[in-house]
């Protein structure tokens, strides 16, 4: 994580002055995907970069220490070693940006990562995930316990009832959604959030991070997200301190694409290790 958001006086006039033209933003969202693509080596390099932004996530009711362990191992070795060697990228220490689990699984994750000998941070959803509709007291307690267990990043679900009544909260990162909604990370919403991040930076000098989560499954999607951030905020936001992708199945599709780039063949299911 970068330096924390130092915060600023709450000035609601900033929010009331913001104008968002919905149809225009929808058009921009369509254009961004059509106007920027990367191919060949550029695609491979961008995909490897995308790996380093992934918060490799499992948020299932039936998570146990064994699949958490597998997840953590995959976080450490996201792409097959021989594929990285072929691209001359094996010594770049490519891992995912973090693993992201429920609070009760933080212990398992910390243990598994230690066993794997790496310092990938553990992120935990907390504070009444995914609805945020629990008491402030239990929400805070949940965060405290997760931190105690070794989580270094907390994804908080804000109390949306407060937002809808105009009472805002601050943060270091903003996330499109929990990933548990029917509609999750979409480009139009992301464009509005990215522009808000830029405006806040211009006004205060604070860089806020951005994390789209939910529904980002294909390698192609991840490339579009990278170029969206590059186009709207610039290269300085393209680092794990300021950009994360919350995803669970994305990584395997990226690995398949890398496999194809290196070998020129499409991989079978069993060619790549599961996560």
């Amino acid at each position: 994580m970068s330096a924390h958001n130092r915060g600023t006086e709450l000035d609601l006039s900033w929010i009331s002055k913001i104008q968002v033209n919905h149809p225009a933003v929808l058009r921009r969202a369509e254009q961004i995907q059509a106007r920027r693509t990367v191919k060949k080596e550029w695609q491979a390099a961008w995909l490897l970069k995308a790996v380093t932004f992934i918060d490799l996530t499992t948020l299932s009711g039936d998570d146990t220490s064994s699949n958490i362990q597998r997840l953590c191992y995959k976080a450490k070795y996201p792409i097959r070693e021989d594929l990285l060697k072929a691209l001359n990228m094996h010594d770049k220490g490519i891992t995912t940006a973090a693993v992201c689990v429920y609070p009760a699984r933080v212990c398992d994750a910390v243990k598994a990562l230690k066993a794997a000998g790496c310092n990938i941070p553990v992120a935990s959803v907390a504070a009444g995930f995914p609805a945020g509709q629990t008491h402030l007291k239990t929400r805070l307690e949940e965060i405290r316990l997760a931190v105690e267990d070794g989580a270094t990043e907390i994804d908080v679900v804000i109390n949306r009832s407060l937002v809808l009544t105009g009472q805002w909260e601050g943060s270091d990162f903003i996330k499109t959604s929990t990933g548990k909604e029917t509609v999750n990370a979409t480009f139009p919403v992301a464009i509005v959030m990215l522009r808000a991040i830029r405006d806040f930076f211009w006004k205060t000098g604070n860089k806020i991070g951005f994390k789209p989560a939910g529904g980002i499954r294909s390698a192609k999607d991840s490339l579009a997200w990278l170029s969206l951030v590059k186009e709207e905020l610039g290269d300085e936001w393209l680092k794990p301190e300021l950009f994360r992708i919350g995803a669970s199945t994305l990584l395997s599709d990226i690995e398949r694409q890398i496999y194809h780039h290196v070998t020129g063949r499409y991989a079978a299911y069993h060619d790549l290790p599961m996560s």
Binding site: Q19, V20, N21, H22, P23, A24, V25, L26, R27, R28, Q31, A34, R35, R36, T37, V38, K39, K40, E41, W42, A44, A45, W46, L48, K49, L87, N88, M89, K92, R195, W202, L226, K230, E231, G234, D235, L238
Partner: protein, 801 residues
Amino acid sequence: MAATRAGPRAREIFTSLEYGPVPESHACALAWLDTQDRCLGHYVNGKWLKPEHRNSVPCQDPITENLASCLQAQAEDVAAAVEAARMAFKGWSAHPGVVRAQHLTRLAEVIQKHQRLLWTLESLVTGRAVREVRDGDVQLAQQLLHYHAIQASTQEEALAGWEPMGVIGLILPPTFSFLEMMWRICPALAVGCTVVALVPPASPAPLLLAQLAGELGPFPGILNVLSGPASLVPILASQPGIRKVAFCGAPEEGRALRRSLAGECAELGLALGTESLLLLTDTADVDSAVEGVVDAAWSDRGPGGLRLLIQESVWDEAMRRLQERMGRLRSGRGLDGAVDMGARGAAACDLVQRFVREAQSQGAQVFQAGDVPSERPFYPPTLVSNLPPASPCAQVEVPWPVVVASPFRTAKEALLVANGTPRGGSASVWSERLGQALELGYGLQVGTVWINAHGLRDPSVPTGGCKESGCSWHGGPDGLYEYLRPSGTPARLSCLSKNLNYDTFGLAVPSTLPAGPEIGPSPAPPYGLFVGGRFQAPGARSSRPIRDSSGNLHGYVAEGGAKDIRGAVEAAHQAFPGWAGQSPGARAALLWALAAALERRKSTLASRLERQGAELKAAEAEVELSARRLRAWGARVQAQGHTLQVAGLRGPVLRLREPLGVLAVVCPDEWPLLAFVSLLAPALAYGNTVVMVPSAACPLLALEVCQDMATVFPAGLANVVTGDRDHLTRCLALHQDVQAMWYFGSAQGSQFVEWASAGNLKPVWASRGCPRAWDQEAEGAGPELGLRVARTKALWLPMGD
């Protein structure tokens, strides 16, 4: 080829996260050129035409590569193409609309099947970003064909009373997309016309389209494409078989063509200039508006540059965002899938370099940014600000890819600045305040207005312009009428008189002398020029005698001159905003009041008509019919304009019918009352104000009507100037602030009016000496009048929460 060039290895890209080339193969375009042995001729009558002993010019992509050579047409090739189109017209126009609809649909299907060839060829040769051609133009080309196929299939019912003009000559400018051709050939072919398109040297995409259409079979010769130099334009335009010339290009070329076609057989439709306008208010979503600027000027969508007006209070913010955004634009080979802008060749590059250098020397600040190859013919996105409004650069058209930004203080001032140019093409308004957006949208004098969007297009929405952007239209119903004429009217013939001296026509007024006292049973006729709501003495302080049918003196009318015309036009302008702002209902009410007044004056009017030789019955009928015309137009105007629904757009597009402004009408000699009223009624009903020259043989009827207008109408609505017809015609036709002119009179006068209209490119309607049956519904009050009396504006209103 670019794909194999040695790029940075993955390691470096991993760190820099730069974009790489995304080359699109143009192998199929080259293969197609090979089928022509890399030598392109013309496509005429369903066959390739490659005459011998013709000059040829190289066809290059904008960077350097020499692709093929193109034969240049000569006059005899033009004649052959026009003859082929004329022969094809007989069969094509005789078929029922459904047959034409099927043919257009088949062409759309062929384009769909070979779209890769079309887009790679187009992008390769023009240098425009392939994404824009592939996702925009090629798709729209198919939609255009489908839309116009539907129009063709319903032609017999929906366009009853109209018939196709004949062979259309289409002239396209050096830098254009093949889509510009599609916009025009689709409506022309749909209604039954056939086309000869003259494209500039080295434009293979139109030739490919003609080939695809020609190979469809039964109708070769409906679309013929010649490539040739600009010197062929007048030759094509004056071919006797050509019924209409549709010209797209630079304003000065359009003006010259207007002059040279005066009195010729062919009608002329002009679509001139490429500049667009964007109004950014302080309630706009500035980031989205900045994307609008990119769409307009830096995305290879529009052909030209952009004038950008920014409200002062958001100037800094908008400029900062604009410059930030410019830094992320990418330019490169058109066939690269990830560039915003391609290169448009040396000529475009020279033009913009000259403009920017001059702007700098006149004190402007120039900002350039973006990832752009440094060598020619690439040119970076350019933002020009602080250009003094009075400097020469501020007056000329902004070239691609330049945006000229200037501030405004209030919405009212924005309108003054925006309307203060001779151009009237397209504009967008960015404001989140509905009332303000509509106020600006309605107030802008342009053909298309987008609210919070820029550059949207659809086959069902008319696109065109006003003022010196030319008043021809494509798309929607207006596009169809461009190629139709009322059924049964005599064919437009050439009225060219080679020895008409434009410098002296109507210059001098023959002196008039007293012809004795007025005699007769009727009361003394009204005297004076009816200007600004009252009768005034003419500047010349002289009068001309009007004789009745038996040669006796009927009365004197004032001898109007240039100064009187100037005063009348001024009075009409003063009255215009108030009158145009009235609701159609209110305007109708006044026309009905005038009708009632005419009926009260019936006996006077009838007796004056009798003195001009009419039977009493016929005279009374003429008065009654005149009153009916006033009432009919009052009723008709309330049903004008309508809403269009466009695919892929939430929200309506309004097709508005706006008044032209000050309309000058020179009335025919015959039907001194009925013709006058038949022309006055639609003009006023649609919100125009008028300056009218009444029948020269008997202006007294019009002056009688003026007596009623003086009491019924606000001052200045209708101004009537009597005097020497040619002289008044000259004054009106040369007046730069008259927005349109109708002339019903001699062939020579018509030719002069057409020639003189080139000054401000006002739309003109000249009878060329052909009489009209004013008492017949079709000619006296038909839809043609309703079409010519107002101009269309398309107002796009996308919606979203």
